[in-house]
């Protein structure tokens, strides 16, 4: 038994998220089963009673997010989790959390969509998470881990961010990250929750507190929105996270998060020694998005290539950051398709061969293969 792995546990991403939440002082968890995040619910059911916390299986995702709203209003560290369809049902609640400035950690282990779709991994909820699938001008801090260890680390941090900014924080994983087992070390310091002064606790000996998002007096809602936007500016300045791999001399820079980023790293390893100069920028915070690093890299790179398990969602943020400074290519798989490192390499070689068109969404060749000859029923 080698010592380096001594403190490690072999956990699924879902279990690691649960353990990290407990470490971060979260003692309230409300959730509803949905594959591929069931291990999170199931694990919380076992662990919360052990640590004196509350596990409650809600009657729906809507109930879960509003139970979380309640515990957040009461000043407690609280978490909920789901996967794509369930997260769609939480959109009103997330907008309410943002509108009431309540801290809350929400985990989305994305699966293939739209609709019922499938349970295989996907990154097609990027827009929903990052642009805001709910109503109104709000922002959710979105963190995208790429390993089980990072799930643990980011869930822990998510609670701090949520409290610091009184804002919901989403951990955006996928079916693969949620269900994959890897060794994890829970290395951070256990925390206990301090009840903030704005919480509803019973107004014993003090002026009452009110938690609300309703601003019916003309001008108040706009003033509140301005305050929110200022807060978001601060987050954008302070909380950007990303990883760079071999970007120093890279001609082509891959941009990918989560599972896709790992596959890109595999691609980098495969071509190391070939003389090809390929780098990777891995956004860890999807909102705030690492715009500045991309702009910096755009000055020297030849091209970017965004790799996603979607039709090209983060692609838009990359383009917005890079603007016209550099061509931005795309390689995507959809609906449960996971790109392989070979496909990524093929795409990169393709970019280096100059006959290609730039800047437009390009469907993966494999995908085109799959889609070939499909009956296109809908246009008369």
């Amino acid at each position: 038994m080698k010592s380096s792995n001594n403190k490690k546990q072999l956990l699924t991403g879902n279990e690691a998220a649960a353990e990290a939440a407990i470490l971060a002082g979260c003692r309230y968890y409300y959730g509803y089963p949905i594959t591929p995040q069931n291990e999170l619910v199931n694990h919380m059911a076992i662990r919360m009673p052990q640590v004196g916390g509350t596990f409650l299986q809600a009657e729906s995702e809507i109930a879960a997010i509003y139970m979380a709203y309640g515990s957040a209003a009461a000043g407690a560290r609280v978490m909920t989790s789901s996967s794509s369809p369930g997260i769609s049902l939480m959109q009103e609640g997330i907008s309410y959390l943002a509108g009431s400035e309540l801290p809350c950690v929400i985990v989305n282990m994305q699966r293939g969509g739209p609709g019922l779709g499938d349970i295989s991994p996907s990154q097609a909820d990027y827009f929903q998470a990052v642009k805001g699938g709910g109503h109104g001008d709000y922002r959710t801090i979105v963190l995208a881990p790429a390993s089980v260890q990072e799930i643990a680390d980011l869930v822990y941090d998510a609670f701090d961010l949520a409290d610091r900014y009184r804002n919901p924080v989403m951990l955006l994983g996928d079916a693969q990250l949620g269900q994959m087992m890897e060794p994890v070390e829970l290395k951070k310091i256990p925390r206990t929750q301090q009840t903030p002064r704005w919480a509803v606790t019973g107004a014993e000996g003090r002026a009452r507190n009110i938690i609300k998002s309703f601003y019916p007096v003309k001008g108040e809602l706009e003033a509140f929105n301005i305050r929110l936007q200022r807060k978001y500016k601060v987050v954008e300045q302070k909380e950007v996270r990303y990883e760079e791999v071999n970007t120093e001399r890279a001609e082509i820079i891959l941009v990918a998060y989560g599972t896709c980023a790992r596959i890109c790293k595999e691609a980098l390893r495969r071509i190391s020694g070939t003389g090809l100069q390929i780098g990777l920028l891995r956004p860890i915070s999807l909102w705030p998005f690492p715009k500045e690093p991309l702009r910096r890299l755009a000055k020297k790179a030849k091209a970017f290539c965004v790799v996603e398990m979607s039709s090209g969602q983060m692609l838009e943020d990359v383009k917005l950051a890079v603007l016209n400074r550099c061509p931005v290519h795309f390689y995507g798989r959809m609906g449960g398709g996971v790109p392989s490192s070979k496909e990524v390499i093929k795409k990169v070689l393709n970019i280096l061969a100059p006959e290609e068109s730039t800047l437009e969404l390009e469907m993966s060749e494999i995908s085109q293969e799959l889609g070939k000859g499909l009956y296109f029923s809908t246009i008369p």
């Binding site: 038994m1 792995n5 490690k8 072999l10 269900q179 060794p183 596959i263 392989s340």
Partner: protein, 194 residues
């Protein structure tokens, strides 16, 4: 070294347990490891497929694109393995249930283990996974057997404790079978270092 494995079988055949156990033992043995299920569907009853990578270096993609080892437990699963094959792959088939319909081209290392029959003889059809483990590890020597047995024992706690012996037995039968039929006294293969 890196060992990239695909385990594939019907939902009830214990491949999940097998994979988790192997992953855990490899971790305790100081290796890097990733293990994940890649079910086809949200529904019951289909083939369950697991990707397991054990490596001395950092593992980037957890997805097995080309497998060093594939273990196939039943007929419908058998039909799904072709994508992962390389000429150097080691293929372990549960020959009790897999009726081979096609050849595997350049693949040399094919081990046909009647795992279900052997397990049935021991009186526990689910132990077929351990028969395969015995055969597999004998050929590829991925993990130290004593450590594996320790972990197996601790995973079968409480109500399930009585199952340890039969599982251990199944493992040994798998080992014996593969030695007898395939290795015929040869030294077992070294794990390929990539």
């Amino acid at each position: 070294m890196i060992e990239r494995m695909i385990l594939i079988g019907y939902g009830g055949q214990g491949m999940m347990l097998f994979g988790r156990l192997l992953a855990r033992v490899a971790m305790l043995d100081g290796k890097q490891v990733t293990f994940f299920p890649s079910y086809g569907t949200e529904v019951r009853g289909g083939a369950a497929c697991y990707h397991l990578i054990v490596s001395t270096e950092e593992i980037f993609s957890p997805v097995v694109e080309e497998a060093d080892t594939i273990i196939v437990m039943n007929q419908p699963s058998y039909l799904k393995l072709k994508n992962y094959l390389m000429p150097s792959s080691h293929l372990f088939l549960n020959s009790s249930l897999v009726k081979e319909a096609e050849s595997f081209g350049e693949v040399k290392n094919i081990y046909r283990i009647p795992a279900t029959e052997i397990a049935n003889e021991l009186g526990n059809v689910v132990a077929s996974n351990m028969v395969m483990m015995g055969a597999y590890n004998t050929v590829k020597n991925l993990v130290p057997l004593p450590l594996f047995l320790d972990c197996l024992k601790s995973s079968l706690s409480g109500r399930k404790a009585p199952l340890f012996e039969i599982n251990k037995l199944a493992l040994l039968r798998g080992k014996e079978y593969v030695k007898k039929v395939y290795l015929k006294g040869e030294k077992t293969l070294e794990v390929s270092v990539v």
